[in-house]
C-alpha cells in the first residue's frame, strides 16, 4: 500500500508551505496584511502537518520503499519589491495548489481504506487549503495591475 508515500508527500508539502509563508511574511513585513495573514496561514499549515503525522506513522508500517522523484522543490527563497511580492505569492499559490490536490488524493485513499479518522482530517483541512488559494488569488488580483502596469 502506497498511501504512506502520499501522506508523506502531503506532510512535507504542508511543512514546506508553512516555512514559505513565514519567509514571505518576514520578507514583505512592510505589507502588513501579507505579514499578518502569511503568519496566520503558516499556523494553519503547522496544524495540518500535525494532524497528518499520526497517519503517516500508522501507514508507514505497510509501505514499500519510497518511489523516486516523489517530492518537488517549489520554493527557493523570497524576492523584493512589488513584482517580487507577486512572484512570491505565486510561489505560495503553487505550493498551496500542490497541497490542495494532495488532499484530494489522500481523501480518495482514505475512502479506499475505510479510514474515517483520516477522512475527517482531510475534510477539516482541505477547506482551509482551498481558502489559502482563494486568498492568494484575491491578493494577487488586486496587486497585479499596479505592479505590472503602473509601477516604474
Amino acid at each position: 500500500m502506497h498511501l504512506a508515500h502520499y501522506l508523506g508527500l502531503l506532510h512535507r508539502a504542508q511543512v514546506n508551505l508553512a516555512d514559505a509563508f513565514r519567509q514571505v511574511a518576514d520578507a514583505h513585513a512592510e505589507e502588513p496584511d501579507i505579514q499578518h495573514l502569511c503568519q496566520q496561514q503558516a499556523q494553519r499549515c503547522d496544524a495540518h502537518a500535525e494532524q497528518l503525522q499520526p497517519f503517516a506513522v500508522r501507514y508507514s508500517e505497510d509501505a514499500p520503499d519510497e518511489p523516486d522523484r516523489l517530492h518537488s522543490q517549489l520554493f527557493t527563497g523570497t524576492r523584493t519589491g512589488g513584482i517580487g511580492l507577486l512572484r512570491d505569492l505565486q510561489d505560495l499559490y503553487l505550493m498551496a495548489a500542490e497541497c490542495d490536490i494532495a488532499w484530494t488524493v489522500v481523501g480518495q485513499a482514505a475512502y479506499g481504506v475505510r479510514d474515517e479518522d483520516l477522512l475527517a482530517v482531510v475534510q477539516r483541512c482541505e477547506g482551509e487549503t482551498a481558502i489559502q488559494l482563494k486568498w492568494l488569488r484575491t491578493r494577487m488580483k488586486a496587486a497585479a495591475p499596479q505592479a505590472l502596469v503602473v509601477a516604474d
Binding site: E30, P32, H36, L37, K134, W135, Q146, V150, D152
Partner: protein, 811 residues
C-alpha cells in the same frame, strides 16, 4: 439656561414604549443675542458626528450667530449636540484659509486659483500620459463633505481618470459597518430606524460609547430609561463610559476579543433555546456551520479569553435572549478592533437567529462615525461603487458605463477599489504620484504617524490638500486649496438611519475659499474629461444638478433617492431612503418581510472568507442559492496581530471625547469645546497607576514599537491592563519649533481587518512610565464622559461657564 458643557445631554424628557419622543428644542446664540437679533434661519443638519441632527443656522449681519434644533425632524426632535451648539464658531476663525497656497521649496506661498489649479492639472496630464497613467492617482476623501461632492469626485476618479485608488477616511470609521451589512444582508444599508429606541425593550451597545459620539441618540435612550417600562441595557466596552455606567450589565472585555464574546453569547442563546427556529429556517443560511463554530465557546472559555466573569456572559445572553424587541448599536470598539468584520457580523447573527430585525424596536444600527460617511459609501467615493453596486457584477458596471456614457473598461472593476492603507502604501513605494486629500487630516488620524508624515513629505509625491485650515496634513502639501464649509455651501447628506437632510448655504465663505464641489467641477473642466460621444463627462454646474444625476444613479438600488427633491427636503423633516413611488415618504425599516438583498443579480458582494478576506466567485455565490435569505457568518477567535509582551506590557485603545471631533480642526477652534478638553491625556486604571507609581496629573510617557508620546494621567474606571488616549490631538496649535509628541496615532499599529480593511486602532501594545510629577494639578481630561475621574479624586468638574449658556425647552 443650561450649560451644555457641564451637562452635554441636557434635561430629560422621559417617555414610555411606543410613545412619541417628546420635543425639546435646544438653542445657542452667541454674545447674548436673542431670536429678535436673528435676520434669518437657514436649514441644515449637524456635521460634527454621524447622528444627522436637523438644525437651523441663525444668521445676523451676514454672519452665523448660532443654531437651534429643528423640532419637526424625526431624528432629533429639536435637540442639538454640544459640538453643534458651539462648533460653528470655527467658521469665523481667523486661521481659515482664504487663498490657495503652492509650495515654493520648504514654504507654502499664497497664490491665485489659476496658478494652483494649473499646477494640479499640469501634473495630472503629465501623469496620465502613458500606459497605466491612471494608477498614479490616489484620492483620499472624507466623511464630512456632502453627497453631491462625493458623487462628483467618484465620477472624476472612476470615469474620468479611471483609477481604483479612491477611498475616504470612512475607512477609519465605518468601513466595517458596510462590510458587515454586505456580508450578512447582501448590501449596505442600515436595517433599523432611530425610532426603534421608542419601541425596544433591550438595548445592546457593542463597543459604542454613544453618550459621547452621538449625544442626541443617547438622549433618546436616556429618556426611555427614565420613562415607564424602560429598556434593559448591556454595554461592551473596556472603559467605564457613561454608557457602561448606565447599563444594567457592563462587560469590560479585554480589547481585541470581541469575536470570542459574541461566539459565547450566540452559543448560550442557541443552547437555551432563545432563538427563532422558524425565522432561521425561512430567512437565513449557514446556521449549522455557525453552530459548529460557536459551540467551542462555553462561558468559561469566553471568560478566560475576554477576562470577564463567566456569570456575566450567561447573564448577558439571558438579557439579550429573552428580550422581545432588541436594539443593537455597534461602533468603533468593534469596528477598529481585532476581527472587526467577523465581530460586527456576529451582532447581525444575534438579530437574525432571534428574528429581531425589520419591526419596531427590533433593529440594528451598524453605526457611522462621521456625519456624511453614509454618502461616501453610497456614491462610491470610497472603496465602494456608486449606488451600492457590486464591482464583480459586469451588469452593474455596464449600468454605470451607460449612465456616464463611457466604455465599460474605463471604469476600474478588475478588483475592489483600493483601500486607504494600500493607497498610502503605493504612495510610499512611489507608484502613486499624485495624492489628493479632501477634508481630512491623515497626518493625525491614520495609524503610525511617523510613517504617514514620511510618505506625505516624499518629494516625488505631489500632494493636494483641500481643507478649511492649514492642517498638519496641509503643511506637507504641494498645493493647498481653501474650501468652503458647512453653512457656506448647499448640499445633502444622510444619517445612520438613512435620513436624508439638506444643508443650505447661510453665509459666504471667507476670502477666495470655494465649495468642494466647485473645486472638483473646476478640475473636471480643466482636465476636459469627455464621454464616449465627445461631450463633457461632467456637465454639472451646481449641487442640485449633481443631486438629480445621483438620483438616476441610485434608481433601483437599495439607496434609491428618486422620490427625493431639494424642495421636499426643505421645510419639514428629513426623509429616509429608499424613497420611491412605492415608498413616497421613505421606508422606515428595511427587511420588514425577512427578504434580504442577497439575490446574486442585486447583491453588493459575492462574499469573503472573514478570516482572510479571500473573495468568493460569482458561481460559488450563486451555488448557495441565497434567494433573499441572510447569511450567518462565524469564525473562530484569533488573537490580535499585536498582543502585549514584556517590553510593551499594556494595551492601548484610542477614542473620542464628547467635546472634540476628529482632529479638532473645528472643535479645537470653538472656545467652549476647546476649554473643556484642551489637551491630550492618558487614562489608567487605579491598580495599574499604583503599580507604576502614577497619580492624577502626572506626566506619563507611553511608547509602542512605532513611537512615543507624553500625556498627563487621568486615573479612571478603565479596565486593568488597558490605557486610553484620545486621538483628537495633533500639533496645529503647538509652537512649530517645540512640538511635543502627543498624537495617539504615533503609537498605533499599521494593520487592518482582512475584509473591511479598517485599521486596528484599539489594540496596540505599549509601555507606560512616569516622566514627571503632576504636583497635584489634575490632567486636562474632562470630568464628563469616559474620562471621568474616580469618585473621591477631588478633580474640579468640567464646566462651560457664562459663554456656554444655551437654552432648551418645548416650543
Amino acid at each position: 439656561m443650561v450649560d451644555r458643557i457641564a451637562d452635554p445631554w441636557g434635561e430629560r424628557t422621559p417617555y414610555g414604549p411606543g410613545q412619541e419622543w417628546p420635543v425639546r428644542v435646544d438653542r445657542y446664540l452667541a454674545d447674548g443675542r436673542t431670536d429678535a437679533d436673528v435676520d434669518r434661519w437657514v436649514q441644515s443638519a449637524s456635521v460634527l458626528h454621524s447622528n444627522g441632527d436637523a438644525l437651523d443656522i441663525a444668521v445676523a449681519d451676514g454672519r452665523i450667530v448660532g443654531v437651534r434644533g429643528r423640532a419637526v425632524d424625526r431624528v432629533n426632535r429639536g435637540r442639538v449636540d454640544p459640538k453643534d451648539l458651539y462648533g460653528w464658531q470655527a467658521n469665523h476663525n481667523p486661521d481659515r484659509l482664504t487663498r490657495p497656497l503652492v509650495r515654493d521649496g520648504d514654504r507654502l506661498v499664497e497664490t491665485d486659483w489659476d496658478t494652483a489649479m494649473g499646477r494640479i492639472v499640469a501634473r495630472s496630464k503629465e501623469l496620465l500620459d502613458g500606459p497605466g497613467g491612471w494608477g498614479h492617482f490616489g484620492f483620499y476623501t472624507s466623511g464630512q463633505l456632502f453627497l453631491e461632492e462625493y458623487y462628483a469626485l467618484g465620477v472624476i476618479g472612476k470615469a474620468g481618470l479611471g483609477t481604483p485608488h479612491m477611498d475616504g477616511n470612512t475607512r477609519l470609521c465605518t468601513a466595517t459597518a458596510a462590510a458587515a451589512m454586505k456580508a450578512s444582508f447582501g448590501t449596505d444599508g442600515q436595517p433599523g430606524s432611530y425610532t426603534d429606541v421608542d419601541h425596544c425593550d433591550a438595548i445592546a451597545l457593542w463597543g459604542h460609547n454613544v453618550a459621547e459620539t452621538q449625544t442626541v441618540l443617547w438622549m433618546r435612550m436616556l429618556d426611555r430609561r427614565h420613562g415607564p417600562n424602560p429598556p434593559a441595557m448591556v454595554a461592551v466596552d473596556p472603559r467605564a463610559t457613561p454608557v457602561a455606567r448606565e447599563a444594567d450589565l457592563h462587560l469590560a472585555v479585554r480589547n481585541g476579543t470581541n469575536v470570542a464574546l459574541m461566539n459565547g453569547l450566540l452559543r448560550e442563546i442557541i443552547r437555551r433555546g432563545w432563538y427563532d427556529r422558524d425565522y432561521v429556517d425561512a430567512h437565513t443560511l449557514g446556521f449549522e456551520e455557525m453552530c459548529r463554530i460557536v459551540d467551542g465557546y462555553p462561558p468559561r472559555r469566553v471568560a478566560d479569553i475576554c477576562d470577564v466573569p463567566a456569570a456575566d456572559v450567561e447573564r448577558a445572553a439571558e438579557l439579550l435572549g429573552t428580550s422581545q424587541r432588541l436594539l443593537s448599536t455597534v461602533l468603533q470598539g468593534f469596528y477598529q478592533s481585532n476581527q472587526a468584520t467577523a465581530a460586527a457580523c456576529a451582532v447581525n447573527n444575534l438579530h437574525l437567529i432571534r428574528g429581531m430585525i425589520g419591526r419596531p424596536g427590533a433593529g440594528i444600527y451598524q453605526m457611522n462615525g462621521q456625519p456624511t460617511a453614509q454618502n461616501t459609501r453610497e456614491t462610491g467615493a470610497d472603496g465602494d461603487l456608486p449606488g451600492l453596486r457590486n464591482w464583480e457584477n459586469t451588469a452593474h458596471i455596464a449600468e454605470l458605463a451607460r449612465l456616464w456614457n463611457v466604455d465599460v473598461d474605463t471604469i476600474p472593476h478588475w478588483a475592489p477599489p483600493t483601500h486607504a492603507m494600500q493607497i498610502f502604501r503605493y504612495a510610499e513605494q512611489g507608484s502613486i504620484k499624485l495624492l489628493w486629500i479632501s477634508a481630512t487630516n491623515p497626518a493625525v488620524s491614520l495609524p503610525e504617524l511617523r510613517r504617514i508624515r514620511q510618505i506625505l513629505a516624499r518629494p516625488e509625491l505631489f500632494v493636494v490638500v483641500q481643507d478649511l485650515f492649514l492642517t498638519e496634513t496641509a503643511e506637507l502639501a504641494d498645493v493647498v486649496l481653501p474650501a468652503a464649509t458647512w453653512g457656506e455651501k448647499t448640499g445633502t447628506f444622510t444619517s445612520v438611519d438613512r435620513t436624508v437632510h439638506i444643508s443650505d448655504k447661510a453665509v459666504d465663505p471667507p476670502g477666495e475659499a470655494k465649495p468642494d464641489l466647485d473645486i472638483f467641477l473646476d478640475y473636471a473642466r480643466r482636465m476636459d474629461f469627455r464621454d464616449r460621444d465627445g461631450q463633457p463627462l461632467i456637465p454639472w454646474t451646481g449641487p442640485q444638478e449633481v443631486f438629480e444625476a445621483w438620483k438616476e444613479c441610485s434608481r433601483g438600488r437599495p439607496c434609491d433617492y428618486t422620490g427625493i427633491t431639494y424642495d421636499r427636503l426643505r421645510g419639514g423633516s428629513g426623509i429616509q431612503w429608499p424613497c420611491t413611488e412605492e415608498h413616497p415618504d421613505g421606508a422606515e425599516r428595511l427587511y420588514t418581510d425577512g427578504q434580504f438583498n442577497t439575490d446574486p443579480d442585486y447583491c453588493e458582494t459575492y462574499g469573503h472568507d472573514l478570516a482572510t478576506g479571500a473573495e468568493f466567485t460569482e458561481s460559488e455565490y450563486r451555488a448557495k442559492e441565497p434567494e433573499g435569505r441572510a447569511f450567518l457568518h462565524a469564525v473562530d477567535y484569533e488573537p490580535s496581530p499585536e498582543v502585549p509582551d514584556d517590553e510593551h506590557p499594556m494595551l492601548l485603545t484610542t477614542g473620542r471625547t464628547v467635546y472634540q471631533f476628529h482632529t479638532r480642526t473645528k472643535t479645537g477652534r470653538a472656545p467652549q469645546l476647546d476649554r473643556a478638553a484642551p489637551d491630550v491625556w492618558v487614562e489608567l486604571n487605579p491598580a495599574d497607576a499604583a503599580r507604576l507609581g502614577i497619580t492624577e496629573g502626572d506626566l506619563v510617557g507611553i511608547s509602542s514599537a512605532r513611537g512615543g508620546i507624553e500625556a498627563r494621567a487621568r486615573i479612571s474606571g478603565i479596565r486593568p491592563g488597558v490605557v486610553f488616549v484620545p486621538f483628537h490631538y495633533g500639533y496645529f496649535d503647538q509652537d512649530p519649533d517645540d512640538r511635543t509628541p502627543r498624537a495617539a496615532n504615533e503609537l498605533t499599529i499599521t494593520a487592518w481587518d482582512p475584509v473591511s480593511k479598517q485599521p486596528l486602532f484599539k489594540v496596540a501594545a505599549v509601555a507606560v512610565a512616569k516622566l514627571a510629577d503632576g504636583r497635584g494639578v489634575p490632567s486636562p481630561a474632562p470630568t464628563v464622559g469616559g474620562s471621568a475621574p474616580l469618585a473621591d479624586a477631588g478633580v474640579p468638574p468640567t464646566v462651560g461657564g457664562p459663554t456656554a449658556r444655551a437654552t432648551s425647552g418645548k416650543e
